[in-house]
Symmetry: C3
Subunit: 347 residues, 3 copies
């Protein structure tokens, strides 16, 4: 696809400064855009890049006054950042706008398939599974028996949803993510072996959740592991059985949450954090990357760091001193020597 600056200007309700006939066919960042790219400038910190960008056209705030000669075409709009965001979304919805059922795919006769769905080749839809309207199931996805997917949701290639799990509307799950694998439950026996504790629960993912790639969410032993509305999980995250993540909580990559723990809503958890099982974290809890949380947090909206974690500022203060420990030890030794000298002198 190719558009002229004039066409983009009309689309965005803006005006064109420069050659209205210049054509663009891709989107790019102002600092490394190539010829043919459409870019934008909203943050004044990036103004310097405007004067030698290779982008063929740049969306800019209508109030902008250049402080040097501009060689590209400017498309002036009310708010350059949101105008560009609209273009990004349009671009992506076009790219992701797949519809229809590719062959070969496996759709059990008892499955219920909504309207205007995409089901890619080699996708598997089990017995009594449900796929809502306008949802997209990419190639090689597995949706087990009785599993339900809402409407306007996307499962990218290779996502695996175990039997009986329920996924809401407007949910996005990226490739390699597994939802509903067995919880890690084994009862130690007298002879040192382990007996499996049957895991018969499921996973419930509420609306507007997005989950990255290669993340694992285990089913509950009984009942449900629950990811509440609006939660965002990054890649390679581990969610154990019977965990509950409160709504609008964000969890960065490679973090792990052990069994039966409940995370309050609106929490923000960094990457590579570990959280033990059977605890509860208050609403709005913030956890520094790489921390280890081994007890419940009852106070809302606090920031934690370290392993085991303490309040963020006190952790930071201690950490600075850890790096000065060799100096502290020297000072301690010095004191011991001096005191001994004094004692001997004054004895």
């Amino acid at each position: 696809m190719q558009f002229t600056a004039q066409q983009i200007g009309s689309l965005l309700n803006g005006s064109v400064d420069g050659n209205p006939e210049v054509t663009v066919n891709k989107l790019g960042k102002i600092e490394d855009a190539e010829e043919g790219a459409l870019s934008f400038l909203a943050n004044p910190k990036y103004e310097q890049f405007l004067y030698d960008t290779k982008a063929s056209a740049v969306i800019i705030n209508e109030s902008f006054i250049p402080t040097a000669p501009v060689n590209t075409t400017l498309i002036r709009v009310k708010d350059a950042y949101s105008a560009f965001s609209v273009l990004l979304e349009t671009y992506n919805s076009f790219k992701l706008n797949k519809v229809g059922i590719e062959e070969p795919s496996f759709i059990h006769p008892s499955a219920k398939i909504g309207k205007d769905v995409y089901i890619g080749a080699f996708a598997y839809i089990g017995a009594n599974a449900v796929v809502g309207d306008n949802s997209k199931i990419y190639p090689q996805v597995y949706l087990g028996d009785n599993a339900e997917l809402g409407s306007e949701s996307t499962l990218f290639s290779g996502v695996k949803i175990y039997a009986d799990c329920k996924i809401g509307n407007k949910v996005v799950v990226h490739s390699g993510t597994v939802i509903g694998s067995d919880g890690f439950g084994f009862a130690p026996q007298a002879d040192g072996t382990y007996t499996k504790v049957s895991q018969i629960g499921n996973v419930i993912i509420e609306d507007e959740v997005e989950i990255g790639s290669n993340t694992s969410i285990d089913c509950a032993t009984m009942g449900s592991t629950v990811i509440r509305k609006g939660v965002k999980l990054d890649n390679l995250v581990q969610i154990a059985h019977n965990v509950e993540i409160g709504s609008n909580t964000v969890i960065a990559a490679q973090t792990g949450i052990s069994g039966s723990t409940k995370i309050g809503e609106h929490s923000v958890i960094g990457g590579q954090v570990g959280i033990v099982g059977h605890i509860t974290l208050a609403k709005g809890t913030q956890i520094q990357a790489k921390s280890g949380i081994n007890h419940s947090i009852t106070e809302e909206g606090k920031r934690w760091a370290g392993a085991p974690a303490t309040a963020y500022t006190s952790h930071m203060r201690s950490q600075v001193i850890v790096n000065r420990l060799p100096e502290l030890e020297r000072r301690l030794h010095e004191l011991e020597k001096k005191l001994l000298e004094q004692t001997n002198k004054n004895g």
Copy 2:
């Protein structure tokens, strides 16, 4: 499926208190069961939930004496916990009781397929591969050339087993797990590039092993990476080339074990632990979550924590003081000041 309390009672060799005709069609926890659910009460801590549970029937020890009015139907058995476990297992074996070969699937003519197996659609069975009796291969599984799977084993959707790997009997592997990918072996060259060290070994998984989802187990450079009988691995675990995990060892999620390390049997390793390569851990070693192990452990049955790890109790003692370091530094500074005053006074 639907059963009456009377039918469950007969099945479990128990007696019914209350309405024998009430029907149940699912299993649930006593504290959050819905109408139509069958639950159980074994742990006295949960007794309070019995008196207002919504479960239609509750399995309970025959010796139990209620201390308040009970509104649900009780099914009295000798041991409520094991009776319920039997039901869970029965439920799951029913749910997982798939047999037959779905189309399209790819089974190389030279592969040997046992009796009463399930092979899901889009599964791939390579040349000379072997699948034992009663094993289940879910959709989109890959079993490479010459790979062998024993009997009564289950590979859930999307498991990938590289060529030449051997998996035993009664093994369960969850979705997204990769067994037999190349070990991470690269020889640095004089010009700063790396040359690959060919990895021609395999992975051997012995009987009764269970492996979670999205775990990676690399093949050996030569010989075998070995997971001994009864080992349980959680999700997102990394097992490098030539590692050997002793029998009945349990490893929690997101832990990584580097090349050629040997873990003793009956060990218990927490989540997000890192273990360096080329070391040996004694039998019964216990490692706290998030620890880093950088040397061999020769004493059996000890508990370790920290990174680098030390004995658990000494680590915990040090960790408490780390959090008090600002206070320690103040005390040290105070001493220095006082001693200086004294010195000046007593000169």
Copy 3:
């Protein structure tokens, strides 16, 4: 396949000591090789194993002089280690030498497929995708629309490449790895919910890169996430959006790199390391396993450890003292007592 010691000797331009007619059909390590195996001895540390190895033949340096009776057949060559490496590679290239297109597979009519490729069953090649000559695409791989794979590259079973990503020549990607999933970009809203930031960029993987299993590499928000020539990534690694990894850098398992960070070439990063976003690490940086890097590193070729990381040797010095903190506290307390006694005495 089976060869005589004489045949191997001729192939490697070596001479045979012992029975030239003994046959070998596999490769093995000298310390645990079985009958019928061909092994090698290059490192003098392993000489002891030569005298009771069960290997049927052993490749050895022509200069080697045994110090005890040898019961196996020796194949003497100029450099035993490189001769054996050549055999390993030959073995592997034979094992991996698949060609042809298996059915059913999905190849979009607009895709461009090179010569002598392997495309396994259930592989999906999207619209306008490109597969170079001699590349191998194993079963159940997904190559999205417009994605490009160079020549002599291998994607093992189940690899997922999102639309628009570009993979170079002689690249190897192991099972379960996802390339091009959306970056983790969500803009917080006034009501506590998050709005997705569209991710329209791609991933570029240059030539001779090898990537382990179950690794996640996110696409750029705009532009490209870039993995430069010769980089080696281990299993379960997380690479966020807009990251750039310099050429010939090696990253061990379970390490995570946050958005927009740039890693210098020839760096060596251990396992389970976390690196924050928007920083730059100088060329040749070495990072100890489990470290956390929270600031840019400008000096080249330095070694770092800890979380937050400091220079390696200073970290190690501090860490030793952390383990002695209980003793330090006792000494401090002792000093306080003594000083108080003195003060009281001299006061």
